[in-house]
């Protein structure tokens, strides 16, 4: 109990503080620039094109989180180190939040641009479907964790489910696009710019946003891992 005041060995606190400060400044500058810098005006999109700086990086961040979570689940099965289980869970939680934000920004964006007259909120765009499925999987993952009491067994079962789900999701990449029309770049009749011809004026901020939000993911995730480890220590868990 005496070492609760010292930083958790699981997390390098000096590095965490450094990255946190850098990310705070970076994101502030990036968000200000995202709203104030001039962008090319396109019909229908107009200023909503600025959502590109927020909506797309959310997806990149969620995919990063999914990989981090699956990697730590795999390592937990391999080594049985309880810290790996904590990392997998916290990456999934933060990834869930980013996925939800990505879904909401996408739904609102589509509703008030190309569905402005139609009043459609949900459409069966492939990426939207995949995101919704990934959120459902993480929802099930969190429910599964609450259904097992013994920590080791919980970690192992949750890791198995996480990896099992990670193996099935890529199928959506191949199946859904053949059945559903996409709103996203590259598809026919899509007024958005595609990833390959993203207007040069928008590129720097877009890349900065991707790096910034992935950095934000790292900060939130590391913070949550730290918190979880400290909680375990306070509870007197012998493994921490």
């Amino acid at each position: 109990m005496s070492d609760t005041s010292t930083p958790a060995a699981a997390v390098n606190v000096r590095r965490y503080r450094l990255v946190r400060n850098v990310v705070a400044v970076w994101l502030t500058v990036m968000i200000v620039a995202a709203f104030l810098r001039d962008i090319p005006r396109l019909n229908i999109l107009e200023h909503t094109a600025r959502n590109l700086y927020f909506h797309v990086p959310m997806w990149f961040t969620m995919m990063t989180a999914v990989f981090v979570s699956a990697y730590h689940s795999f390592q937990f099965l391999r080594t049985g180190n309880p810290l790996r289980d904590i990392r997998a869970l916290q990456a999934a939680r933060v990834g869930f939040a980013f996925g939800l934000m990505g879904l909401i920004t996408g739904i609102v964006w589509a509703r008030f641009t190309w569905y402005a007259g139609a009043g459609i909120w949900w459409n069966f765009d492939p990426r939207q479907t995949m995101a919704a499925v990934q959120l459902l999987i993480y929802g099930a993952y969190f429910v599964l964790r609450t259904a097992v009491d013994e920590p080791r067994r919980r970690g192992r079962i949750a890791a198995v489910y996480n990896l099992f789900a990670a193996a099935t999701v890529p199928f959506l990449l191949y199946i859904v696009p053949r059945q559903m029309h996409s709103l996203h770049p590259g598809a026919e009749g899509n007024p958005a710019f595609s990833e390959t011809d993203l207007a040069p004026a928008m590129r720097p901020i877009f890349y900065a946003a991707v790096i910034g939000f992935i950095g934000l993911f790292w900060v939130l995730y590391t913070q949550r891992v730290r918190l979880a480890v400290l909680k375990k220590r306070l509870q007197g868990d012998p493994e921490f």
Binding site: V148, I157, Y161, A167
Partner: protein
């Protein structure tokens, strides 16, 4: 012990136990029939599109699998036979035996469900061979995914309705493919021309799900 012999022994044990009281078979059949009747009463005389027909049939089948197959590992825990199986067989044998049993169970239920569905909703079938292949490949993917998840929930403390929650998000790719393939086999569809890709996807899905299950099953089974 020879691997095939071990897997077959697990399957034979499950089959014999099932034939003694026929709980799973009867429960699944009643579930499928009563839910299809509900669907039929709900729709009434209205004509529904083939897409909706396919979707209704498969949603009923997925729910029946989620309700019926959850028992396969819980019953081992309840009878206290887990330890005996762990001592006498390798995990992959248990998985293979259970998978075979679940596959045959779901396939049988699918065929009964299809018959009742054609009768109640007045569905004509244009390509029976295609529809049967879809049912078989769908049953393979479905039982592949459900068997591992059934082993997972048998380890959980609150077993209740956990299986559908875990199962349905994983089955989205399967559902999309089987519904399209079923639609292709019904009167307005294009038969085999349209469904080749779907069947290939179903085959791939079943392959991936079963392979990953075999790899992960050890971690669930050897607790």
């Amino acid at each position: 012990m020879n691997w095939l012999y071990g897997a077959w022994a697990v399957f034979e044990k499950d089959l014999r136990l099932e034939l003694r009281n026929r709980y799973a078979v009867n429960m699944l059949l009643m579930f499928v029939l009563s839910s299809l009747f509900l669907v039929a009463f709900g729709i009434g005389e209205t004509a529904v599109s083939t897409r909706v027909q396919g979707a209704l049939l498969w949603v009923v089948i997925l729910f029946s699998a989620a309700v019926g197959l959850g028992r396969s590992f819980i019953s081992e825990e309840e009878r206290g036979t887990v330890l005996l199986l762990q001592l006498n067989t390798r995990p992959s044998m248990v998985y293979a035996g259970k998978l075979l049993f679940n596959f045959l169970l779901i396939l049988g239920v699918n065929i009964v469900a299809l018959g009742a569905f054609m009768l109640l909703l007045r569905v004509d079938v244009r390509a029976p061979g295609l529809l049967l292949s879809t049912l078989a490949l769908g049953a393979l993917g479905l039982s592949g995914a459900t068997t591992l998840l059934a082993a997972i929930i048998a380890r959980a403390a609150n077993k209740g309705p956990l299986l559908p929650v875990l199962l349905f998000p994983l089955l989205v790719p399967l559902l999309l493919s089987v519904v399209s393939a079923t639609q292709a086999a019904l009167p307005m569809g294009n038969g085999w021309n349209e469904a080749g890709d779907e069947l290939l996807t179903l085959f791939g899905f079943a392959g991936v799900v079963i392979t990953v299950s075999v790899l992960l099953f050890d971690y669930v089974w050897n607790d």
